[in-house]
Symmetry: C2
Subunit: 331 residues, 2 copies
DNA sequence: ATCGTTACAGAAATCGATTTCATGCACAAG
DNA sequence: CTTGTGCATGAAATCGATTTCTGTAACGAT
């Protein structure tokens, strides 16, 4: 690959002039033409490593996510990517597997690669952002909050849990259980809080938490929790799944047991993009996840452009899509 | 962030010595200890941009994929990532959206960032790899082949199409249609070729291609193609979907029309990770996609380590998982 | 005692761009 | 004619690491 020096030599100008042409600074049209010809001839592309080293700022933003196999996060990634690339940035996707150690490593890399900024869905509530903040790198938290005073884009998780449970109540289910994610993940907690409020207010259980299961935010997690719930002495007749993958797991178990909705009520917080369910047998709390990505990317770009206003947190609304084909509870 | 000069100053040695300690070269234990102490004190992390510029080689590999929202590719990405990070490399995921222009841009970036190598699932068969090859960057093609003499990891797509169609024949379906992807995508073509062989051999149709639909490799594509097929004068009683998303689309339409399998036979080339189908009502050709990622990453790492043997192409086997709950055709 | 070898470590060059600083030229104002 | 202003441009410094080159000291062999 040609360097700026070779282009300069061929064009008969100094490297500085080549740089100015490439970066759109004032250069006489005569020399600019020479440079452009030479650049085309040698097929010159500026070396980004050198540029980044000098400018102390690369045109790459890191998107650090707990699980890239989850359509929830890939959808968010699309939102981020569309905005970022329109602004000339590339996005590198980093998968933490909900592991704070991997996460820390990626954040270090983001610093030492001089990345322009970071969009982070924290793996836990202990994520340490000191280095990044000290280094002055813009960061936006998505999906989950951090203990730090940085921009964030969240959604109203408690409200999501309430909507999901409420729609099942309205459909006539009597014993609505809940399957949620790990205790140290904020979204898991809050969605179950919403569920608990509803079932408590409805006087549904003496001890609601017997019908609450914590598990992993994965299909397996939904499956095992659903099995446990069905094995209870007095099993539920409906369930709120706190994320998409758990919802899939729960539905798989129910299908296997012949308890397809609406015989057994199911409401899921999150979309199920790849299901083949009959239309609207399951209530869905649609999460504005692509839009979260878009918003986070916009906020990050503002910061990269030097915006120094105090940290903002944007909370997006979600929207319940109730099952239309609602039937009677089983028992 | 501390630089190597600051560490050197604090430790009372030269930057060269600090570099040697960091990179594990011979340094007296005495000075090494001083350097380590200083590095810890200042929380030193080498600037990767500077390192990459000097070494002409970054510890990043690019994984360029047509659709990161497809679980097929995210699963592949996981395979790549697991191997790469175990070898100390990070993986940047680039989404081309099946767009050769976006793809070309990412490949240019891979060069100008001095990335260690590229794993590419080409967006079309016109992908130009001249620059990359001229630059000597290792590349491995996955999923789809290129016109260039480079390493590749493929699977036997024709065989996948044959298996899918064959299992439906054996289940007793009489008019097996096929939904496949765009004509200029090799995997789409080959899978439909496999299907055509089977239905031709079975003497199923006078003109098989009336039961073949080309569409996009997406849920929408599967939906619209399925609608078209059902609207035929003499509609099919079964369908081979050439990828997972098309399979989902087809199944959605069938579910909506009350034609749930096994009333209507469905075989899909590719896994359906997030469905809630009753067990094994659909035949699946399991594709070794994670393993493709793993294999591609291993091959790439060998090349990065300087292996110069002639280009290899590895073809992985796939495996049919027939529907167990097979019923009679509708008509 | 001298020479050769090895180990260690610092000085300086290097990677390829950007950017500051300095220079020279042209043109306008005085 | 002189001075001032501004613009185009090149020379050189710079970003932060790695690596080559060079020098010195120590030690063993002759």
């Amino acid at each position: 690959m040609a360097t700026i020096y070779e282009v300069a030599a061929l064009a008969g100008v100094s490297p500085a002039t080549v740089s100015r042409v490439v970066n759109g600074q004032r250069v006489s049209e005569e020399k600019a033409a020479l440079v452009r010809a030479a650049a085309t001839e040698l097929n010159f592309t500026p070396n980004r490593t050198a540029r980044t080293l000098r400018r102390q700022n690369s045109e790459v933003i890191a998107l650090v996510l707990p699980d890239i196999e989850n359509p929830y996060f890939t959808s968010m990634a699309r939102g981020v990517e569309d905005i970022a690339r329109a602004a000339g940035y590339s996005v590198v996707l980093c998968n933490t597997d909900e592991d704070p150690v991997k996460e820390a490593k990626y954040l270090d890399i983001a610093i030492s690669e001089n990345m322009a900024g970071v969009i982070l869905a924290p793996a836990s509530d202990h994520t340490d952002l000191q280095h990044l903040i000290a280094r002055g790198r813009p960061i936006v938290a998505v999906d989950r909050s951090t203990g730090f005073d940085i921009d964030g884009v969240m959604m109203n998780n408690r409200h999501g849990g309430i909507s999901a449970a409420q729609t099942l109540v309205e459909a006539g289910y009597r014993r609505i259980a809940c399957i949620t994610g790990p205790k140290d993940i904020e979204t898991a907690q809050e969605r179950s809080v919403g569920w608990r409020e509803v079932v408590t207010k409805a006087g549904m259980f003496d001890r609601p938490d017997e019908y609450l299961r914590y598990s992993t935010f994965r299909v397996d997690g939904g499956r095992s929790a659903m099995h446990e719930l069905l094995a209870l002495d007095n099993p539920p007749d409906a369930v709120v799944a706190a994320n998409n993958l758990m919802g899939v797991g729960a539905l798989q178990v129910l299908t296997e047991e012949g308890l397809t909705p609406p015989r057994f009520g199911v409401a899921v917080v999150g979309d199920l993009p790849f299901t083949t369910l009959s239309p609207a047998s399951v209530s869905i709390v649609r999460l504005p996840v692509r839009h979260m990505g878009v918003t986070a990317a916009r906020m990050l770009l503002e910061r990269i452009d030097g915006d120094t206003q105090p940290a903002r947190t944007v909370v997006l609304r979600n929207e319940i899509v109730p099952a239309t084909a609602v039937g009677a509870p089983l028992v």
